[in-house]
Amino acid sequence: MLAMEKGINCCFSASASNVYIYFITIAIALVVIRVSYVIYRSSKPLHTTSPQPLSTLIVLGSGGHTAEMLNLLSVLHTDSFTPRLYIAAATDNMSLQKARLFESSVIDKVFRMAALKYKLLRVSATLLYKTGVLENAQFMQIYRSREVGQSYLTSIGTTVMAIAHALWLMIKIRPQVILCNGPGTCLPLCVIAFFFKVVGIRWSSTFYVESIARVRRLSLTGLLLYELHMADKFFVQWPQLQRKYPRAHYVGCLM
């Protein structure tokens, strides 16, 4: 009797641990399936019958990144990429300033056409300008995980801070399109966007354009995004890179 009970107990605990293993296996399998589906789906174009404007996150960075990005934005239809959210490192004052200049040039273009068409008065024109800026563009700063020359010990703390801040910003803005071209700040943002896709919070398309300064090797950010399949479209500006990384698209120089 006792032996039988013991056997049943044993059997029960064995089956309980089996159930755990079973569930964990299923969970892992589901995650793997979901992640591979997201990667597969990301590589396919969006099939939208009536394209709506998409909220766009634009990652800027000093050292030529911002200039290249604004070059790209100047040929995109800004109406389709609305609202635009610009993000730059907290220590980088110039990039957002340049983005503001770009935005005012966009508004100017709209405004100039409207003013010529309807012969707007100054007051209404100014109003148009102000609401335009407020609605269509936002400018944000993000903590950097590591400044140049910072020690590795303190950078653990700042990295955690930076990731938390990036997560907070991404929860707030949930962009549908991400445009980035290499500054280190775009890596956590792209990873979080991918996580949102997997979990189902928000589907987004990530476009990565490697900087023109990278001729033979990808930057660390670019390499990680390429290898992890986190960029839906990956563009390079030199044919040598395209040969080395066949999934990338060669698009010629942007400058």
Partner: protein, 228 residues
């Protein structure tokens, strides 16, 4: 008399720029007597050095006794003007000039004035005369694509000097690639004299600025936006 003498002999300026960083090796290399003699022999009259945060001070010279006139400054708000007036540019390989004041001057003023213009119903022609018509191009030029491309787009002969002291020097990749395509000359501080002695400006091929339209097209296709 002196003025007519100046007119007969036009200024040909060699402009050396190191950006925001310090690049003493480059400043030292151009301050070398043999480099200066070679430049003078090639018909250049002035040497202007933007030395940034460097600590090496080049020797000034007024250039009266049949040699190169040398002048230097640390930073300037009008580096684009320096580039435009130069006959030869010797530059660091970095992507950014870092002299940002001029970026503001491109748009700030016309934007405010614009409202007045429209209010007064000023004709287009007058706006263009005021510089409004060229506003956007002004902005992009002033926003600066980094020194290499800025100089190339101005169609100036350019020698890029790579800073070998920098650890992660991917900037030299770009300079070497553009040198292979004969858009510029690439040197190091040690080989600068050699490069200047052997360069032939006729062999340079003008750089045609690229554009972002292919990227924009692919992005639009991907997202299902109409393309035009």
């Amino acid at each position: 008399m002196g003025d007519t003498h100046d007119d007969m002999k036009p200024k040909r300026i060699v402009f050396v720029t190191v950006g925001t960083t310090s690049f003493d090796a480059l400043v030292k290399a151009v301050d070398n007597t043999e480099v200066k003699r070679e430049l003078f022999g090639r018909g250049y009259t002035h040497l202007l050095i933007q030395m940034g945060r460097g600590s090496y001070i080049p020797s000034k010279s007024s250039g009266e006794d049949g040699c190169l006139a040398v002048d230097y400054f640390t930073f300037s708000s009008s580096i684009a003007d320096n580039l435009r007036s130069a006959s030869l540019v010797i530059s660091h390989a970095g992507m950014c000039h870092g002299i940002y004041k001029e970026i503001y001057s491109g748009l700030k003023i016309p934007l405010g004035e614009l409202f007045q213009y429209v209010d007064q119903r000023v004709e287009k022609k007058k706006l263009r005369k005021k510089g409004w018509g060229t506003l956007e191009t002004e902005f992009y030029r002033n926003a600066g694509s980094g020194s290499i491309f800025e100089t190339l787009q101005l169609r100036k002969p350019l020698i890029v000097v790579v800073n070998e002291d920098l650890m992660d020097n991917h900037q030299s990749e770009l300079a070497e690639e553009l040198a292979d395509r004969k858009h510029l000359f690439c040197a190091s501080p040690q080989t600068l004299l050699h490069t200047i002695t052997n360069m032939s400006l006729e062999s340079l091929i003008p750089y045609h600025p690229g554009d972002a339209k292919p990227v924009a097209k692919l992005i639009n296709q991907f997202l299902g936006f109409p393309d035009d």
